[in-house]
Amino acid sequence: MNILVFIKQVPDTNEVKIDPVTKTLIREGVPSIINPDDKNALEEAIKIKEEYGAKVIVITMGPPQAETALREALAMGADEAYLLTDRVFAGADTYATAKTLAKMAKKFDYDIIFCGRQAIDGDTAQVGPQLAEQLNIPQVTYVKEVKIEGDTLIVKRALEEGYEVIKVKMPVLLTAIKELNTPRYPSIKGIFDAYREKEVKIVTAADLGVDPQEVGLKGSPTKVISTTTPETQRAGEIFTGNVKECVQNLVQRLVEKHVI
């Protein structure tokens, strides 16, 4: 069984500060980490490997320094690591990212693709689902439990109040949430092995055989015009009294606001 895990290196938001003037993230001197949900995805893949036997292949797209995230993944127990890095990949939105990652995924004979639910820097939760669409395979998002029965997965998908149980045939893409597991610490031996005995393979746009016009900023339909911090001006309103009065007041206010 082959499991592909797509991870992203992100700034540690616990350490991030916002520039009060430009309102943008101050990234200088902020440590980079493996995106937390992606770590849950990786942990689950390694657990599946330990329990059922599998090859865990970890992939990221990013600048050359994203190699550190891959080394950490190798230290945790991943078998192979690929870094998609090329100037033309830069500035990709979720569509272009998913398209590029799909090209990479197609190079492997995979059974499960694991992604984190969302990255803490962009918070879009789009790349996993878009990747599944690009590959035309089923997807289960918000995964909190995985069991394997032959060629089928029994997956618990978290809902706001409860969960649903989904039976799905492999190949399948899953997006992990933190409730799925507790990621292990890479062992110290694992760290030395990751640097001395394992390899991070570099993949460029040419290696992937993608058209530079279809990746990165050029291949991104989303254009970021500006980034601002939303100002909260509207105050909440609390209606008191009996239920009937409250409902009447609420409906009246919604009509006034042209909501209904």
């Binding site: 440590p31 950490e72 610490y185 890479p186 110290i188 031996k189 760290i191 030395f192």
Partner: protein, 380 residues
């Protein structure tokens, strides 16, 4: 010249720090209050392959370098100095002599489980009348057939009573002085080996300092470490390495105090502003940070020399001397800056100050370090 850590070492620092902050630090206060030996921490460190970092994989180690090991001791000690010394004594004082002087059989039997963290190690040199004058050993070992009979006692033994394997020094030939001392590998269950008094300590209260008693203790002949008469040399060389570990422990304690201070002076308001705005305190902090940095360079330099098979006796003594005195100074200043709060158990700085003191005493007092440094310099 290159002062940067390798990528590997940076990753070790990142991971051990994460581990120490999440798994070790939250329990440090309680461990200090109860004096309970932190078995849970030891087990977690073993699981993360931290109990034999600088030893080859074939002997159960992580196959890492000495600087990575020193970084691990520093980071663990920053979270909990008691746990730091358990790691340092185990790795530097128990594993090292077996790795360096052990036979293939001894390494297989003892080093592998120690370096894997399945067993815990200790080092027993100090006696009631042989402290700084370590050569004045009164414990004796007499060869009788296929085993040695040990009699005597050891005190202040780190991990004593908790360890499974002890490196024990004893006189095999009193007429030869230091050349009559030999080293032995003693298992906790050997007949005639008992644990005596357990010390109530000022600091590093979670770690164990205990008396070991040998009453006709039977040690198989094959558990002699090195040759008869090599014991004193084994002890001294082992302590050279151990001192780098204690330097790292002191460094971790000092860094912890500095971190507490830099956080506190930004929050604590007096005279209508954060106390960090006052130049008097800024000067304290600048001096503390400078000394911590100097200590780190000395400790890493000694570790680098050991890693590169260069002589390190004097450098290890300098590192231990300076780092331990820095730890004492920085933690004392930290308590002062915290004022009345610093004297209470509401903040960790009083614990750090109590923990720091021992680093000036064990594995050679500051005075011993000066003796070592001067004798290396003057060669008189």
């Amino acid at each position: 010249m290159d002062f940067s850590l390798t990528k590997e070492q940076q990753m070790v620092r990142k991971i051990v720090r994460e581990f120490a902050e999440k798994e070790i630090a939250p329990k440090a206060k309680e461990i200090d209050l109860t004096g309970e030996f932190p078995w849970d921490n030891v087990k977690k460190m073993a699981k993360a392959d931290m109990m034999g970092i600088p030893y080859p994989k074939e002997y159960g180690g992580a196959g890492g370098d000495y600087i990575s090991y020193i970084i691990a001791v520093e980071e663990i000690s920053r979270a909990c100095a008691a746990t730091g010394v358990i790691l340092s004594a185990h790795t530097s004082l128990a594993c090292f002599p077996i790795f360096q002087w052990g036979t293939k059989e001894q390494k297989e039997k003892y080093l592998i489980p120690l370096a894997k963290g399945e067993k815990l190690g200790a080092f027993a040199l100090t006696e009631p009348n042989a402290g700084t004058d370590a050569a004045a050993q009164q414990t004796t070992a007499v060869l009788e057939g296929d085993h040695y009979i040990l009699n005597g006692s050891k005190i202040f033994i780190t991990n004593g009573g908790k360890a499974d394997v002890y490196i024990v020094f004893a006189m095999t030939d009193k007429s030869k002085g230091t050349k009559g001392i030999s080293a032995f590998i003693v298992e906790k269950d050997f007949p005639g080996f008992y644990i005596g008094k357990v010390e109530e300590k000022m600091g590093i209260r979670g770690s164990r300092a205990a008396e070991l008693v040998f009453e006709d203790c039977v040690v198989p002949k094959e558990n002699l470490l090195g040759k008869e008469g090599e014991g004193f040399k084994i002890a001294m060389v082992t302590l050279d390495g151990g001192r780098i570990g204690i330097g790292a422990q002191a460094l971790g304690i000092a860094q912890a105090a500095l971190n507490e201070v830099t956080k506190y002076v930004k929050e604590r308001q007096q005279f209508g502003r954060p106390i960090g705005k006052f130049q008097g305190l800024q000067w304290y902090i600048a001096e503390m940070a400078t000394k911590v940095s100097a200590a780190r360079h000395l400790v890493y330099y000694a570790a680098w020399r050991k890693q590169n098979n260069l002589s390190y006796t004097m450098e290890a003594a300098m590192a231990k001397l300076f780092a331990s005195e820095t730890a004492m100074e920085v933690t004392t200043k930290a308590v002062q800056i915290f004022g009345g709060y610093g004297y209470t158990k509401d903040y960790p700085v009083e614990r750090l100050m109590r923990d720091a003191k021992i680093t000036e005493i064990y594995e050679g007092t500051s005075e011993v370090q000066k003796m070592v440094i001067a004798s290396n310099l003057l060669k008189m």
